[in-house]
């Protein structure tokens, strides 16, 4: 901060000195107008009745009057608009980043000195340059033979880019040792620390490529999909409490588990309409309430890494999306297409006399290659289907997907056998389009999905690679991760481009990308030693010559505590920890019959309205440390509603179901319940209670579940939220890694840490610390391996033995040691 403040004041000083100088229109002012203004203020589009491409237009001004106030130049509308705060409704430019400080100063000086526009100069929209693609000389033309080679090439490019940089070389950290690599890789790929068993397996492999083999094992592990579901859930903002949220989460999980190509997944997310129960990808649009502007923002920022303020052209692709809600008691919500676009120009806030629909136009340019690049050819090769290779089951699945409105033509194209399937699918699709289907699919969104995922789209693969790289290495090539722009430097553009090309060539395969990153030296480097200056750390991390000491994600930290403490199964025999606890309970003062009569019986589903009408309900103590496994498969099983599911019949059967329910709850019964509720509310006793202390018998022998399969995000005070899981309400929300008091309290005094520390008879270390064969040194070694994934040093061993002998029993002493280890920095921060 100090140095940047200094730099900032130098800048200010410099610009103050420049202030006296005459500003040159052609070299200074014209580029600002061309880059930032005339996209919306020219012959093509005349926002606010203002044209800035000609002198006449500039002098005439716009709806808000003239741009220049000759008498008091500071009060010129032009200057007022560009100097407004970023969130202000009237700030200019609106469709790109606010002007930089120097640009504002130039314009100010230009206006101050008379705003002279040379006669006859007409400005043209400047073609936007795609950031980070100018240089390619470090990228080898020959495709790497393996992912390991791709990793090596990545390191070579990084080195060359560092050498070519004007910045001084940075300190570099050595490659981490085997056990540190095991811990780091296991945490990153399967979301928990390794077990003693896994350490043994890894250490027994002395082959030269043991790290690669480990990565292969981890990628094949069942928890890989769980861990990377968390990554996607953060990225696309999965919220279980939203409409379609649970299904979307299950869909993401299944997509990762099935190794669905990333581009296919994104096409489905963008283009799917339907009911989330049968078309779970529709949950993506429902997450933004099927709002075209929000979807345009999300699509661009999430999948392309490009932020913009307003983009009607892009939003117009979503213009006809419609969210439909049906059913009274059991709500059914789905997306479909409306007749008319909701994206209109000019915006409503300008209160125009007339608004017209905006036509979809893709605001990004695809790269126009003169010859087909090798990585695209490799992608096409990979996707050319083998004749006859499609099994009957796969063909049936493909058909189902097509009927569901998912584009699988790509994989079906050009094969004879598939032609028949395609014909049948087409017929089915035609039937679906004849007006009987209520889930119309959007042709415009399919086009958009194709454009976004086109291998020639320069943003799509890079944006994703940047995120995956940052997730693993701890820092992106571009930061913030979702802001690729000409105003935001890409530190190693060629390394990013190379990885992106390899990702495309791999068929957009997450696992190949992850493996490549894991095998780079950049991933495997240690941190700079303690005592390094913040600036040194930052520049080494930016150059990828050292890694950042990352804290485990909340989910991973919790799961690591439970794994290290053997809490995934019971570690005590039943009844070993029976004790009496006293608890306060609240006994309602209202008459029991009155309470019962007022209870809502019409539905057992959580009803938003009822939930909102209940005073804030708090979870029981320790509920904040629960994991819970959702049954993702059940969420994806289409409900059986009848033969004509997803057609009008569906709606009919649904309304029949509603009717049946209403019949059951006779109208007068509903009314009686309402009256009972009114009586209760008027009684003055609806919320009153007295406290009573009750005694309960508990057996402290808990078993914990993983937090990776929970509904997500967890409740706001839950352990994993306190450790940074984002609420995902907003775009561009990243994990908060900062420490807090609450985090410490939850670790120090939490149930999980406490139970993980206690030594139970059913866990391996027990016989090493209690009983005739006790061997405290071995016990310490085991807990060090189980908790820190390493062996203790001589000093640590001696200290640990002291701790053990200082306990009431050796087992108690060992529990104290484990508790301290679980609470320590070393446990939380990755090696």
């Amino acid at each position: 901060m100090k140095s940047s403040t200094l730099r900032h004041s130098l800048l200010l000083l410099a610009s103050a000195q420049l202030a006296g100088a005459e500003v040159d229109f052609r070299t200074q002012i014209q580029p600002i107008f061309e880059n930032a203004c005339i996209r919306c203020h020219s012959a093509e589009k005349v926002k606010g009745d203002l044209r800035l491409d000609t002198k006449a237009g500039f002098l005439r001004g716009g709806k808000s009057g003239p741009l220049i106030n000759a008498k008091e130049y500071e009060k010129s509308e032009l200057l007022r608009r560009i100097k407004l705060p970023r969130d202000h409704e009237e700030i200019m430019p609106q469709e790109t980043e606010p002007l930089s400080g120097p640009h504002k100063n130039w314009l100010t000086d230009w206006v101050r000195t008379g705003a002279k526009w040379p006669d006859g100069v007409v400005l043209k929209l400047k073609k936007k340059e795609i950031p980070g693609l100018a240089e390619t000389d470090f990228i080898p033309s020959k495709a790497p033979a393996s992912l390991a080679e791709a990793a090596a090439v990545t390191d070579q490019i990084l080195t060359k880019e560092n050498q070519a940089s004007k910045n001084p070389p940075t300190k570099s950290a050595a490659i981490i040792d085997d056990l540190s690599f095991l811990r780091r890789a296991t945490v990153d790929l399967i979301g928990r620390i390794p077990t003693a068993e896994e350490i043994k397996q890894f250490e027994s492999d002395r082959s030269a490529d043991r790290r690669e083999k480990l990565v292969d094992r981890l990628i094949a592990h069942s928890r890989f999909a769980e861990r990377w579901t968390v990554f996607f859930a953060d990225m696309i903002r999965v919220r279980s409490q939203q409409e379609g949220g649970p299904q979307l989460l299950a869909y993401v999980n299944r997509s990762v588990a099935e190794a669905k190509p990333y581009d296919q997944m994104v096409r489905e997310l963008i283009a799917t309409n339907g009911r989330p129960e049968s078309a779970p990808a529709a949950g993506f649009a429902l997450g933004d309430a099927a709002n075209p502007m929000a979807l345009a923002g999300a699509t661009s920022q999430i999948f392309l890494g490009v932020r913009q303020k307003e983009f009607y052209d892009l939003a117009a692709f979503f213009g006809t999306i419609k969210r439909v809600e049906q059913g009274k008691n059991v709500k059914r919500i789905y997306t479909t297409e409306a007749e008319e676009t909701a994206v209109k120009w000019p915006p409503e806030r300008e209160q125009p006399p007339k608004r017209v629909g905006v036509a979809p136009k893709f605001p990004f340019e695809l790269v126009n290659y003169t010859t087909k690049p090798n990585f695209i050819a490799r992608l096409e090769d990979r996707r050319r289907p083998n004749t006859g290779a499609l099994s009957a089951a796969a063909a049936k699945k493909a058909l189902d997907e097509l009927v569901d409105g998912i584009d699988v033509k790509q994989t079906l194209r050009d094969t004879k056998q598939d032609a028949a399937i395609l014909a049948e699918a087409k017929a089915a699709a035609a039937r679906a389009q004849d007006g009987r289907s209520i889930y119309t699919q959007s042709e415009e969104r399919k086009k958009l999905a194709a454009l976004i995922t086109d291998p020639r789209n320069p943003y799509f693969a890079r944006a994703f690679v940047n995120r995956v790289w940052a997730e693993l290495v701890g820092r992106g090539f571009v930061e913030p991760l979702d802001n690729i722009s000409a105003y935001n430097e890409i530190r190693h553009p060629q390394a990013l481009q190379f990885l992106a090309q390899e990702f495309v060539a791999s068929g957009y395969d997450l696992r190949s990308l992850v493996k490549t990153v894991m095998l780079t030296q950049a991933y495997q480097r240690g941190h700079l030693p303690a005592g390094a200056e913040v600036k040194e750390l930052a520049s080494a991390e930016e150059n990828f010559t050292a890694t950042r000491a990352r804290r485990m994600l909340g989910e991973v930290l919790f799961d690591s505590v439970t794994v290290a403490g053997h809490l995934l199964s019971h570690k005590w025999p039943e009844g070993a920890n029976v004790r009496e606890v006293k608890r306060q309970v609240r006994i309602p003062l209202a008459n029991a019959a009155m309470l019962a009569a007022a209870e809502d019986k019409s539905t057992n589903q959580p009803n938003m309205m009822m939930a909102m009408n209940k005073p804030g309900q708090a979870p029981a103590p320790y509920d904040l440390e629960k994991g819970a496994s959702l049954d993702f498969d059940a969420l994806l099983k289409p409900e059986k509603m009848g033969k004509d599911d997803d057609k009008f019949g569906d709606v009919l059967s649904e309304s029949k179901k509603d009717l049946a329910m209403n019949k059951k709850m006779e109208d007068d019964a509903i009314e009686a319940q309402r009256q009972a509720r009114i009586r209760l509310l008027r009684s003055g006793n609806a919320e009153r209670f007295r406290l009573e202390t009750v005694t309960a018998i508990v057996d402290d022998n808990p078993k914990f579940d993983t937090t990776l399969r929970m509904a997500t995000p967890a409740p706001p005070s839950h352990f994993i939220r306190v450790f940074g899981q984002p609420a995902r309400d907003n775009l561009g929300e990243f994990r908060d890694e900062s420490p807090s008091l609450r985090q410490e309290l939850m670790m120090l005094n939490g149930k999980a840490t406490h139970e993980a520390s206690r030594v139970g008879p059913l866990e391996p270390v027990y016989h090493l610390i209690a009983g005739p064969n006790a061997n405290p040194a071995k016990a310490v070694e085991l807990v060090y391996l189980e908790i820190f994934t390493r062996r203790p040093t001589t000093e640590e061993l001696a200290e640990a033995r002291e701790v053990i002998s200082g306990g009431k029993t050796p087992a108690d002493g060992l529990a104290d040691l484990r508790w301290a280890m679980l609470n320590s920095h070393e446990f939380r921060y990755l090696p």
């Binding site: 901060m1 100090k2 969130d87 932020r307 941190h527 700079l528 303690a530 005592g531 750390l537 950042r548 000491a549 804290r551 606890v581 306060q584 003062l589 909102m612 009408n613 209940k614 005073p615 804030g616 708090a618 029981a620 103590p621 309402r674 509720r677 509310l681 008027r682 003055g684 609806a686 919320e687 009153r688 005070s717 309400d729 907003n730 775009l731 908060d736 900062s738 420490p739 807090s740 008091l741 609450r742 985090q743 410490e744 309290l745 939850m746 120090l748 005094n749 939490g750 149930k751 406490h754 200290e799 009431k808 104290d816 508790w819 280890m821 609470n823 320590s824 920095h825 070393e826 921060y829």
Partner: protein, 421 residues
Amino acid sequence: MSSCTDYFATRRRFLAQTAGTAALLGMPINRLVAAIGSAHAPKAESVVLFWNGGGMSHIDTWDPKPGREVGGEFEPIKTSADGIQISEIFPQLAKQMHHCSIIRSIAGTNGDHGRATYELQTSYPQNPALVHPGMGSFVVNESQKNGDLPAYISIGGMAPRAGYLGQRCEAYYIGLPGERDPYLAFPDGIHHAQGERRLEILAKMNLRASNKIAARDLKETDVALKDAVALMKSPALSSFDLDKENPKTLERYGLTEFGRGTLLARKLIETGVRFVQVNRGGFDNHMDVFPAMRNHGSVMDPAVASLIEDLHASGRLEKTLVIMLSEFGRTPKINKDAGRDHHARVFSCFMAGGGVKGGQVIGSSDKDGMEPADRPVQVADLHASVCHALGIDFTRELTTPLGRPMKLVKEGAKPVKELFA
């Protein structure tokens, strides 16, 4: 400088640079800044915010419309303040009205729960690119920590998020008032001596790691840990306990979660907590609004009135700003289900203490409570007023982690000066 547990050394350094002189004078910086250029001497030191989620009907509470069709079933009653009438559901509060101010002309803009809540809590419209801090978070960010307890505590529900101010300014959350918080003491079965021993082992281990790991926030983690341990040992923790309260006091506040929460809020303020938010839901009364409001009255009236009475009796009311907010009001028109729907165009807010002049109504709505009639107050003006009461410079520009400059309160906000006349 800040009572959000401020571990952010760089920021602290920055503040020290920019405001070194003020710090030398031994005066809270922001207060000094606010003192310059304003005749008002800030009196408030802490805030109790009652947050009524769902949109509380203004007509059935602070802005009765007797004799109009929209008036509903409640009669207005006289209060201890001359000429001010409020709804009959608040008989005890009516007796405290000489301490209280009501604003009847808030001109809201948003009828959607989520967006309106965001705006009422942060002063900013919701923005997909940035999370703004809620009122409690920015207040504690701008004031000094006072005592061991967390500076910002939310009772009975979730407070808004701290946004770009980060974890440090998040509210400490209390689920059930009076219930033992398991995270504030060693777990059952770990006695004091054993707990101390564990902390010693941990300190040794961490010290060793600090010499090994160059994690940037290790120091911050150390401070957080130190604060956590201090909190666990603090005698101030007894403020969380309601068991030792006089049963008569408990009865007076009401034998409800809300009553206990309000009593707890008072005790926390007395212990030095800067900002307490007491949450209550159940105001989204699209159906049967009158019995619902009758119940709200019977629960809230004794609690809030007792709070004001007690704060006044102990001389703390001057230093404590009590404010009651909801995301919007409800439609004057009573719908077919005997309910009222969302209405943002005008609604009311209730304030007391903290230097707010008692016994006045500011602004008014039109005859049916549809629109502001005079003195429209913008939502962000409320935030500016809260800051003003506390002596916080609400125009101060902060920097988000991504380097964006951001005003504490939305640009253009002005304190409602009449409150402090």
